[in-house]
Amino acid sequence: MYAAYEQVESSELAAPSAWWKSWRFALVAVILTVAAIAYVAWFRELDDRQQRALAWVTLVAAVTNVACATVGCFLLLRRMSLMGDALAHSVLPGLVVAFIFAGSLNIGFMFVGALAAGLATAFLADTLNRRGGVPADASLGVVFVSLFALGVVLIKRYTGGAIHLDFDCVFAGELDLVGISSNKNMSVGPFELPRTLVSVGPVLILNIAVITLLWKEFKVSSFDPALATAMGFRAGRLHYLLMALVALTTVASFEAVGSILVVAMLIVPAATAHLLTDRLSKMLWVSAGVGLLTAVAGCALARLIEVNTAGTIAVTGGALYGVAVLLSPRYGVVSTLLRNARISARIVREDMLAMLYRLEELATDRQLGERQVVQAVGGGLLANWGLWSLLRRGDVQRTDRGLSLTASGKQQASQLVRSHRLWEAYLVEHLGLPLDHVHEPAERIEHFIDERLREQIVADLPAADVDPHGRGIPDAPGESRS
């Protein structure tokens, strides 16, 4: 029963060509290759100590970014970006309390403290919203800003003079010290690793493991919580699991990038990926890839201009997102503008064809010159360009007295005029519009009426050979058969 329907509609969109064959992909690949070569060349210029430091920093940053970028996708899709922001801020008091108890940045204590603070945030904000009638965003704001302030006061009051936890660490991170300062290292078995890596590494593995294991559960509960619950996947529990993952990731990244910049690592790669893909699995890969790229590029840039690394990574991420906003093939601003321009150009071309067709239909000897045709459709760059492309395609030809349609131009123009007049007839027949009101709407819609709709209109009309003004409606392409 749906078969006929399907046949027609599928013609609208050509089968998507293989993405790796597109020129855009080739361009991106070329740029990336060039950048990689330049990077390697530059890296080899550095002295030994610098190379080692940069390598460690880049490794830590990459692991942090990828860990954040994966959970970030679900945050973004569940419209919980601001919850990520809030959690990143509000785990601070938990961290500080844990620090005070443990006397150092003990990872286990910090996880517990931050998890408690994170869950308290979610719970308090939810309660204020539902029981207190405070708007959702405001209740979140009240809770996380207050908790963050508490954390700052606690730091000042109780950890003054401590090496590992101060204001700088809160807002700028200590990524720069990785690989330089040996008291940032800890030994794991035979290896001497940066402590930040020891905390972020396992979280990355945990994030990947949870997402892989619970892939379909996360997918369905993000897309349709009601369905997930009805299927027995308790969307609520998955929600809290996700928040726990975010809180963990935030804590693990705290020492490297602080508690504000981590927001950039959580949301920005995911938002970039959301602009580039239409499938969840791809989105995760792209997000992780963008995170990785951001980390490598950010670390190199920071080294190059000698500024804070975590901040540079955040800015680089923002810049990559900006590029995606402009240039994303399907959702980019530039491609949207281009698409609109292309439609406008088509409309101008078609208007010119239809005008020439009508002129020839009148069977006068008169022919319009190029300038007249261009003026008639509004003039300007677009019209000139439209005429040029019509000539180039061979739909219109120059004669000694002006412009005339070629056979192919005539064919296209007749279908346009057919659309126009059929629509006029339809408006008069079914909507009862007066004759002098039907031309304008038909003029607008003629460019969007396709073969299928034309046939439908024909079926709905008692007679489809004359329009309401008494002019003949051109035949469909294969009409003579029937």
Binding site: A3, F223, D224
Partner: protein, 252 residues
Amino acid sequence: MQAPPVEIHDMTVAYHRKPVLWDIDLTLPKGRLIAVVGPNGAGKTTLIKAILGLVPLASGKVELYGQPFHRQRHLVGYVPQRESVDWDFPVTALDVVLMGTYGRLGWFRRAGAAERDTAMASLESVGMTRFADRQIRQLSGGQQQRVFLARALAQNAQIYFMDEPFSGVDAATEHATVSLLQELRSAGKTLLVVHHDLQTVREYFDHVILLNMRLVAAGPIETTFTDENLQATYGGRLTVLAEAAEAVRLGD
């Protein structure tokens, strides 16, 4: 004798203490196409959500084939209201339909080739195979609705709950959908459909539930879909019932 597909005893549902459905007693027969009809705010969507355990019951109980819902999840298919969907979500039509098979898979297991075949078959029966790889925003309203219908089919359920499947779809889709629903009924499935177009109830359905905060009537179309019952459902609003519900909400 087999227990009926849905049996509701004495069910009351309240949002924030305010009752929205009072004392529903209802038994749905097997193999029927059932319309849920009532004015706005009558609790039609709530009825479905309560049966599916999406909102807590203030009292009473619901049984599907004689068992509580959480034991019978695999027998149930659900089509939500279109408004509740995030159309920018990065999923294709096939992904959405594939979700229908997740309930059977249970925790941790991933969808394989068998599930993919089920999903493709469901898409085929709604005539959407060609659109399997399209992101859902890029489908027309009718096509989107058919994808969700296909998802319900992929759930391979015995009882289907559909919330306004005909809202915002074109006439062709509506007709094709009704035929599909009727086919399902012929295959012995039970379908509960929230419907707002009174004109077509008689044409599409064979059973009707009239709802307005409480159950007004339920039964076969011929005997139940009468002017008198419609009057009781739509006319003569029970202001007292609504006011009392409000009084409960305010609490003092």
